[in-house]
Symmetry: C2
Subunit: 200 residues, 2 copies
């Protein structure tokens, strides 16, 4: 007797960042407000049974800063699984610690240079302007292109755990996706990606 | 026929930081200069066959800023193994990434507050003094108690890899030793620790 295994495509997985619904440049693909973008997305998504969608709970909470809970349909909750990464089971390669710490060290030094420059320019410019521009430069130097929040780590680790495609525009998250061999896609190509599943 | 296994104590391992030889408060236990402290240490160490000593290569290089290579006896090289951690094989638990990143985020915000305060005080104090005190405060806020260098990561990972006792006075390294279940000892108790092996 021979058991025939049914040929079954394994579902591919996608991890979503908020930018998809919140960032005006991207969400227009799906709808002109966050609430409409959510609807626009899940109308497409629910027609694609071969894809499974995930969002870290922390990212979902961010989304609630832009959309009233009441405007998120129950169907969205069923289609986009909210799940934190298994942070006590996952591990990351040690060499990444080195990269992270060297990167932070460089940025910390850069931040100090920015602060020194600001102090030295007080007598030349208006104090308020100096503080404002210092804040901007400092935040850019210390944060941009780096994973700098719990939410970013959630995205990266969940994508790793699920072996999923990460849809994000965050530079820090993309840099780490590259280091960890995680597939990623910019949100502005995501609608085309979804539509390709419907063409077949 | 019965094979008798010889009862053999497994060697315990110790990972050494430079502070042991360089920090005046500690090295006095072993000698009044770094070179003498090295000699004082290894005269004790070579009498203890049950202990194996390690030092990350990067930490050994730091030591060479304080002691001329010529003043480091060949015997020291034989007793204190220089070895980097296997950084491409080791991994660290993912939850530590969260702690590291949240910690850095707090520090970055603190650094900005310090810079703003400095800018605001320019008209009250001397510019040079302000920059000097800002540097001090900034470095303290952003670096103290944190693993902030490749060398610190080397210490921690080598101790983990070797399942060794870490001898260090570095607050950042001790904090991580605690997180990772690594045994640690302050350098000022290390001579007593070694002597206890000779008393037997």
């Amino acid at each position: 007797m021979i058991f025939m295994k049914s040929v079954k495509h394994k579902k591919d997985r996608v991890v979503l960042d908020t930018s998809l619904f919140v960032n005006p440049e991207v969400r227009n693909d799906f709808g002109s407000t966050p609430a409409e973008a959510i609807k626009g997305f899940f109308i497409l998504a629910e027609q694609i049974p071969t894809l499974e969608f995930y969002m870290p709970s922390s990212i979902f909470n961010e989304l609630l800063n832009f959309v009233d809970q009441k405007n998120i349909p129950g169907r969205f909750l069923a289609i986009v699984h909210q799940k934190s990464p298994s942070k006590h089971e996952l591990s990351c390669p040690a060499f990444l610690l080195y990269e992270l710490i060297e990167d932070i060290r460089d940025r910390i030094n850069k931040g100090l240079r920015i602060a020194e420059k600001a102090v030295r320019s007080v007598n030349k410019f208006d104090e308020r302007e100096i503080i404002q521009s210092m804040r901007k430069n400092y935040r850019e130097a210390l944060r941009e292109g780096i994973i700098d929040s719990k939410e970013d780590v959630d995205l990266i680790l969940l994508a790793k755990e699920m072996n999923a495609l990460l849809v994000t525009a965050d530079h820090g998250a993309i840099t780490w996706a590259e280091k960890l061999g995680i597939r990623w896609l910019l949100p502005n190509r995501f609608k085309d990606y979804l539509l390709s599943f419907l063409e077949k």
